[in-house]
Amino acid sequence: MQITVRLFAAYREAVGAATVPLSVPAGTTAAAVWPVLVQLYPQLGGVIVPSTFAVNDDVAAGVRVLEDGDNVALLAPVSGGA
């Protein structure tokens, strides 16, 4: 199935794109997207691993099973505010 991965901040810069289309097997979870991405973009290996996931603009558990067409965001620990 086909999903879209959304990248922000350190991940976006490391990959050089804000979105990455990805083909993954049925049953793939949100958390399982990260190792797939690191294989494709080894430069992500040096970046902090995601602490949170979002599916279709809602926070989702890492064990969330993805569906075809899902939009998955991998979120590094946040640092907004002051």
Binding site: R6, F8, A9, A10, R12, E13, I48, S51, T52, A54, D57, D58, V59, A73, L75, A76, P77, V78, S79, G80, G81, A82
Partner: protein, 144 residues
């Protein structure tokens, strides 16, 4: 009222958003870009947000604070390129009495720093780095 903006934050707009005839107190918190972090001289900052989710999380903080302390809360976070001294975030809370407004304002900034998907990039003379959560909310003293 919550907002993400690429323009300088107007404190007046933030304060106006929480003004209320029943409010006897307004607490204002401003996060400001400082010139140093972890022993380095900061040249400027870049803030980036996951807009859709950040707006949802900010709204959740606003709603939660309103329900818990009977306050009105406004939160505005700036994105993009910020210079030293620029306001990165403004939070105003109004309530009938000051206690609730202080509590709600503290809750809003502490929760924002933990949960809202916004990231900060520090740019120094020697380089730059996206910062992870380096400033977790300190343990709250027990009020007796």
């Amino acid at each position: 009222m919550i907002a993400l903006t690429r323009d300088p934050i107007s404190v007046d707009v933030v304060l106006s958003a929480v003004r209320d005839r029943g409010a006897g107190a307004i607490v204002l918190f401003l996060g400001v870009v400082r010139d140093h972090a972890r022993g380095r001289n900061v040249r400027h900052l870049e803030y980036e947000a996951y807009d859709a989710l950040a707006r949802k999380e900010l709204t959740r903080i606003e709603t939660e604070a309103a329900a818990r302390w009977n306050v009105r809360v406004a939160i505005v976070h700036r994105l993009g390129h910020l210079e030293i001294g620029d306001i990165s975030v403004a939070i105003a809370a109004s309530s009938a009495h000051r206690g609730e407004a202080f509590e709600a304002g503290r809750y809003a900034i502490d929760t924002l720093k933990q949960t809202v998907p916004i990231w900060k990039k520090e740019v120094w003379a020697e380089g730059a780095e996206w910062i992870g959560q380096d400033d977790p909310a300190p343990a709250r003293p027990t009020v007796r």
